[in-house]
Structures are given as C-alpha cells and as structure tokens.
C-alpha cells in the first residue's frame, strides 16, 4: 500500500544519515508527513462551515490577558526568556531610540526566519511595550491543538491569526486589542523562511494599521535562522541583530497594498543597515538599490549560494553554507 511503503522508504532514507542530530531525525518524518497523516490545510477560497471547534482562529485567548496570566508571562519573559536569549542569540539591539516619540500601541512588523524570532523580539522590545503586547501567531500552527494553543497564549501572549487570508475574525480581534491599548507583533511573511531569504509580505499588518490608524514599527531580525532555522530541531548558538525602524503611518491617500509595499521596503532597508551600516543603507535606499529581502529569483542552489554573500561581516567566523567538508 502506497502510504505505508512511502513512509517506510522516507524514514529509511532520512534516518540513514549521520550529520543530523538524533532528535531532528526522529522529528523530521512527523513534520514532513502529508495529509491525511496530518490535518488538512484549507483552500484559501473556502469558508469553513460554522463548527464548534475551539482550535485555530476560534481558540479563546481572553484568559491569557488577565492580570494573573500577564504577571506570569512577565515573570517568564524577564527571568527565563531574556537570559536564555542573551546566551543563545547574543542580541545586538539597534534603533530602539527611533521609538522614543512613539506613544501608545503600535504594530511591530518583522521578518521571520525562526521560532526564536518571537522570544528574541519579546526580550528586545523596550519596556513600555514588552509587557503589553500580543503576538499574531499562525492559527493553524500554534493553535492547532488546545495544548499548543494554551501554551502559546500564556507564554508569549499569542493570538490566532489566519495566515491564509485576511479574515474578519482575526482582524476584529486585533482591532479590539489595539483599542484596548495592546500592541501587536506580526510577521507579515506568514511563515518562517524556507531557505534563508525573506518572503513577500502579506497585507495583514498594513490592513490592521490602516483600519485602526495605528503606527507600524518595521523591525528586522538578523541571525535567528542560523540558530534555529526552519527544519532544524536543536538550536546552535550564534549572534543576532534586532533593528527597529521609524514608526510608519498609512498615508491619507495611500491604499493598503502600497502601504504594505512600503513596510516591506523599509524592513529591507533595515536588513541592509544590519548587514552594512546606516549610511551605506541610506545611500542605497535613495539610489533605489537596496537589496530585496526575497533574494535573487534564480535556481534554489544559487539562492543558497548567494545567501552566503549576504552574511554580515561582524568580525566573527563565517560558516559556508555549501559545499561542506
């Protein structure tokens, strides 16, 4: 029978190697299993019928913003997350001064390379926002079961966001929270980078900002992909850089699409700034030669090859992506 034999073949093939940690080897087959071994994804054009499920976008997170839960989360972030991130990611924080004029809630829009992006950003956010922020997390991934949903809501203050489309329930929830004074962290790429390069920004952050008249703070996170990139199961310590940009507002005559493009372009400038310096990045921005976050549109091996040239030169040893040995 096809599925069982395919699975056996896959396991035999993928567990045979010696260059992957054992935990990773054991987890990989489970992560890579297709439907129907794992839950199905929902086509973007389909509205699911009303159902009493309490997972996904329907997962209730009100309780995670109660005072006891906030206190618990604050303690966890300050006593556990920050020290762990300091040891594992050795973050360099840049541009926090750009937030000095910011007053009230904001939407932090960051690129996304790793599961570490959220705890790292939480530990790096300045205090007015750190303990008063919710994280827009993929409803299908983080809220797929009640256990993962509860942990995500409690530990990082996650709220379920439908990443396949701009859904009314996700937008309404975000708007309500912003009106209550909560800030929002969103990863507009919709998922972690599969190959080290960025992905095109989706319009959710721009849409919510436009609807709620809230400023967007572009954020670039560099280096987390080396620590725990997509497909890795064990972290490998490395340095990281978090760069905050100037808060941005949607122009009066600007539509959501162009505002979203502007946010993506600004994050690309921050990436350039993190890899070079502020001045060079500024000049390239004015010249219109800022490298795109999404990298060269060529064959996959050339994208990986080119990625190696994009590593910031910060005086530390550089690891070749390929070839090995």
């Amino acid at each position: 029978m096809g599925y069982v034999s395919n699975y056996r073949t896959w396991v035999a093939k993928n567990l045979a190697g010696t260059d992957v940690p054992l935990v990773g080897k054991l987890r990989r087959p489970l992560q890579a299993l297709p439907f129907p071994y794992t839950a199905p994804t929902v086509p973007q054009s389909v509205e699911l019928p009303d159902c009493p499920t309490k997972t996904g976008t329907n997962f209730p997170t009100d309780w995670a913003r109660s005072e006891p839960a906030r206190m618990t989360r604050a303690v966890l972030i300050d006593t556990m997350v920050k020290p762990v991130m300091a040891g594992l990611a050795q973050p360099t924080k840049r541009g926090a001064d750009r937030l000095s004029e910011l007053d009230g809630p904001a939407i932090f829009a960051a690129n996304h390379h790793s599961h570490l992006d959220t705890p790292l950003l939480l530990s790096a956010l300045p205090t007015p926002w750190r303990h008063n922020v919710v994280i827009g997390a993929a409803a299908d991934y983080f809220f797929g079961t009640r256990v993962t949903g509860a942990l995500s809501a409690l530990v990082i203050g996650a709220i379920p966001i439908d990443r396949t489309k701009v859904s009314r329930s996700s937008t309404d929830l975000a708007r309500d929270l912003i009106s209550e004074g909560w800030s929002l962290v969103v990863f507009p790429e919709g998922g972690r980078s599969p190959d080290g390069w960025g992905q095109p920004f989706r319009g959710g952050a721009a849409f919510i900002a436009e609807r709620t008249n809230t400023p967007v703070v572009p954020v670039h996170i560099e280096g987390t992909g080396r620590i725990l990139g997509k497909g890795n199961s064990l972290p490998s310590p490395s340095r990281t850089t978090i760069t905050f940009g100037e808060p941005m507002a949607c122009g009066e005559d600007e539509d959501v699409r162009s505002f979203n493009d502007r946010i993506e372009a600004r994050v690309a400038e921050l990436a350039d700034e993190a890899m070079t310096d502020w001045w060079q990045a500024k000049k390239r921005s004015h010249e219109g030669t800022t490298p795109e976050l999404t990298g060269p549109q060529t064959a996959s091996w050339r994208r990986i090859w080119a990625l190696d040239d994009e590593r910031p030169s910060l005086g530390r040893s550089r690891k070749k992506v390929w070839p090995k040995g």
Binding site: G2, P34, P43, P49
Partner: protein, 535 residues
C-alpha cells in the same frame, strides 16, 4: 432522514497552495493526489439532499395521486393480468441498504392489488441484455416477503430477451426502428414499472423500451452513430439515445400497452454521513482526525488483503441512500418531474471547459455488481458514464485529455462476462475503432448460440453486451485527443488503445504532448454522483 439541516450544493474549487491532496478513487483502493496550483479546479458533488420523512406514505400518496393518470387502485380489477417490472441489479450503485426502494414500492402496489382481488400477477426483473439476477440479489431488491410469495411459483423471474415465445414484436417507428418487448407486458391489462433514477439517463420510456426489450429493438439505438449523436446521453434533450427510446415508447403506447410508471430519486448518501466510509463523501479539508484515522486504517487494511478479498469487502457495502422523491402516472409527465429531482441533486454549474479532465474510478460500475471490473468496464465507466455526466458541452475540450485512475487488471469474471473475454482477446486486439468493430463483429457475437445459452440459463451478460460498452465510449473516443490510465496494468491499458502512466504527475506530463504546456485541469470528484452543467 439526513441529520444535516441545509445540504450544500456542489462546489467548483480552484486549487491553491493551501488545497490539501485530493481523493482519487482507484478501484478497490484510493490515492491522494496533489493537483498543480493555479490552473486546476476540483468539482465536488452536492451534499445529500434530505430524504423523505416517511417514504412509505410518500409512495402511497404517489399511487393515489398520480400525474396525468387515474389512481392505481382505479386501474386494477379482479380478473386482470398485472405485471410489475422493476429495474435490475445495475441500479442503484452501490446497491442500497434494505429496504430497497423497489421492495417498498412493489409491496405497496401488491397491497392495493390484493385489496382489489387481482390474482394474476407477474413480477419481472427488467434486465434487457444484462445478466440474470441471482436469488440473493432478487431477494435484496424485492424483499423476502415478495420473493417467497412469487418466486417459487414462477411468477417472479428475470426477463429473457432471447425467449422466442416470450417476446412480442409491436411494429416499427416512423424511422424504421423495430419495437419488441416482453410478451407478458404486452398481454397484461396493466404493467407497473418500478424505477430507480440514479442518474438522469435512467427512466422514462427507456424503462420499458429498453428494460423489457431485446437485441432486435436495442440495436437501433445501442449503436455507434446514436451514441456519437448523444451529447450527452445523460442529457435527454440532447440525447439521440433518448429520442429513439421515446419513439419506441410511442409505438408501445399506440399498440395499447398500458404502463403505469413509478419513478423514484435517491440522494447522494453513497457512503453515509457516519460509518467507516463517511470520509469518502466529505471535502478533504473537512476531514476530522477520526476521518483521517479511518482512511489510514482502511488503506492499511486493504494493503494486506488479496484482490478478491478487497473486492468482496467493497461489494458488501450497501449504500444508505434515502428516497428524495417518488412520482407515478403517465411516463413522460412523471419523467419530467423525476429528471428535475435528479438534477436538483446532481447538477453543478461549471464555467468553461478544460484541457485535461481527471477522475478516479471506483470499484463498481453498472455491470460489475458482485463481480470483477474488467478493462472494458473500466473504459465504459470513465469514457462512457463519467465523461457523459455533463449538460451543455463536455467538461473537457475537443482534443483534450482524459486521465483516469484505476488498476485496470487483465481480469474477467468468466461467468458474468464470457463474451467480454473474447471481445478483449479477439476484437480489441485487432482494432479499437467502434465503427469497424460494429460493422465487422457485432452480428457474430449477438447471434452466437453459446453466448445466448449462457445469457438465458447462467448469469452471463448477452454476447453483444461488450460491444454496447464500447459504443458507450464512442462519443468520448471521438472527442478526446488522448486517454491515459494511471496505475493501470500496462498491457491491458494498451489493449484498450489508451496510454498507461505510473503516476498522476507522469500522466500530466504525457498529456502535454497533446494539449501543450501549462494546461488547465479539472478533477471530477465522483462518486458521490455529480453532473457538470458546463456553460
């Protein structure tokens, strides 16, 4: 009654990156396939309509209040000859759970006949040139009460189209088509026909003009020319097959044969809304954890079974179909209502044709109930039945490609399909051209004494039946540029004149030879049954 309050209509889904793999039936197994993003769509059938709350009362109401006819009770009298004919084993598919619709209706008719005092009653399985039904199959269809009351005395039996004393020639249509039906029906004061309309092809004059007929009359519409002019034979308004049947029906009526037609429609509840196969009639993204577990367990279990054990397991499945309508009276008036009710369940509006049509063929077709799905039946299920399930224009464009998924074993049931074996070994080995086949071989097979003997005394399809199956494919064969079978036995597939492919991806690649690069693809998610209304 179905627990679902508002059954959803059919759906045409554009495949995007979030679309999960789609279910393909694959004989007595299944495949999950990914279709190319951005240029594929999937047509899902409508959910099962709600069944009638009280089917027995609905039947009584229909008999008492027929359309354009007197109530059944008023047409019965004590010394009359009453014949009840009913659709054979080919309907419905899969066979339905007890009590079968036919049992409900025949019992209701007999209740009235008994009350009136009718003694001379014959009950006939209207099987035309299909195989005879076994005792178990007859019992399932009409119920034990009816069987035990009529079969032992020889008053419940299978129609025999080759009985020289049992058929009556009623004349010809204005177009020269001969009309011949069961002598018992002609001699009866009233023939009650009990129909199950699974698809829109069924019913109407076709019930009697075909079901109670024989080769002499059937050859006038079961031929290549008629099938090519039927676009499609599921769409009565554009079906030459139906036009000819209707003309023969006029001759039957003008000859004084009185027919009281009872037609029924059933819903799409093929695999049940609960139970071991319920996931097969759900849209994939709505599969729950339990559905996935059931599917994996089913696939796992099937992988350890022999082909015959798998076949037996599947053919034991009885569908929990529910009666959605019953209407009785004058044939044409009744059939209009029936067709509308059939369309209400099956029609799915579709915008435009496609370059490639894909379909997964299930384990069952009208002609292999409790039997082997041989390669000819694979062809007719895909190119005959599923291809023709359209209104307007074919789902696939002229010169397009049809990709079917089925194991297509070189395997035949020698009891049920003896002439199929010879047709496959001798006729198709020489040519797959329907015209040439019809001209050169049909008569020889139709009049073969051995096949005739097996049809009358054993459980064999008539000698000419495999020809009709090939003619059923004639419209598709003429329309398509190429036919590919995924996962089929290469030798058998090539004998049919089709191309074998190991995987769907290979098949899609092969199809580009005919339809060019980046073709549009439409997957027919059938069964449960659907009919594309192509604009």
């Amino acid at each position: 009654m179905s627990p679902r309050k508002a059954p959803r209509p059919g759906l045409v889904l554009d495949v995007d990156a979030s679309t999960p793999p789609v279910l393909f039936h694959h004989g007595e197994s299944f495949k999950m396939e990914k279709l190319p993003v951005g240029r594929s769509r999937i047509i899902y059938p409508a959910e099962p309509l709600r069944g009638l709350e009280n089917p027995n009362q609905a039947i009584i109401d229909a008999l008492d209040n027929p359309i354009d006819a007197d109530p059944l009770r008023a047409q019965l009298f004590p010394d009359m000859k009453l014949t009840i004919a009913f659709d054979d084993i080919s309907l419905p598919l899969p066979p339905m759970r007890k009590p079968d619709v036919r049992q409900r209706i025949i019992e209701a008719v007999l209740d009235i006949a008994a009350e009136v005092g009718v003694d001379d009653v014959h009950i006939i399985a209207a099987l035309a040139l299909h195989r005879r039904m076994t005792e178990a199959e007859l019992r399932h269809a009409v119920g034990d009460r009816v069987y035990d009351a009529f079969a032992p005395s020889g008053r419940l039996y299978n129609h025999d189209a080759e009985d020289p004393d049992g058929m009556t020639h009623l004349g010809e249509t204005l177009h020269g088509e001969e009309v011949q039906i069961s002598k018992r029906a002609v001699d009866s004061d009233l023939t009650v026909y009990v129909n199950i309309n699974l698809v829109s092809m069924d019913g109407g004059h076709k019930s009697t003009a075909t079901g109670l007929s024989g080769y002499t009359a059937l050859r006038h519409h079961h031929n290549v020319d008629t099938m090519r002019k039927s676009t499609s034979f599921m769409d009565q308004e554009n079906s030459e097959l139906h036009t000819k049947n209707w003309r023969q029906g006029d001759v039957i009526r003008n000859a004084g044969v009185k027919i009281f037609q009872i037609e029924t429609t059933i819903n799409n509840n093929t695999f049940g809304e609960t139970g071991p196969l319920s996931m097969l009639q759900k849209r994939e993204w709505e599969w729950t954890g339990r559905d996935r577990a059931k599917f994996l367990a089913l696939q796992g279990g099937l992988s350890y079974m022999t082909p015959s054990a798998r076949r037996k397991a599947f053919h034991n499945w009885k569908a929990p179909y529910e009666l959605t309508s019953v209407q009785a009276g004058e044939i044409e008036a009744v059939h209009k209502v029936t067709t509308a009710n059939t369309y209400a369940q099956h029609l799915v509006p579709v915008e435009g044709q496609t370059d490639i049509m894909t379909m997964g063929l299930p384990y069952i077709s009208p002609y292999n109930v409790n039997s082997v799905m041989n390669p000819i039946l694979v062809a007719v299920l895909g190119l005959g039945y599923f291809f023709n399930l359209y209104k307007g224009k074919p789902l696939v464009r002229k010169g397009g490609v049809l990709i079917m998924s089925h194991p297509t074993p070189w395997d035949f049931n020698p009891v049920h399909h003896p002439s199929y074996i010879d047709f496959f070994e001798q006729v198709l080995a020489e040519t797959t051209d329907p015209i040439e086949i019809e001209k050169k071989y049909e008569k020889q097979y139709a009049e073969d004494e051995w096949y005739r003997h097996l049809y009358r005394t054993s459980y064999a399809y008539h000698g000419v039946h495999p020809f009709y199956m090939w003619y059923w494919c004639a419209h598709a064969l003429e329309h398509l540029g190429q036919t590919i079978i995924v996962g089929g036995e290469p030798k058998a597939v090539r004998r049919l004149g089709f191309r074998p492919a190991s995987t769907l991806q290979d098949a899609l690649e092969m199809a580009t030879d005919t339809v060019g690069p980046q073709p549009t693809i439409t997957h027919y998610h059938n069964p449960p049954m659907l009919m594309a209304d192509v604009k």
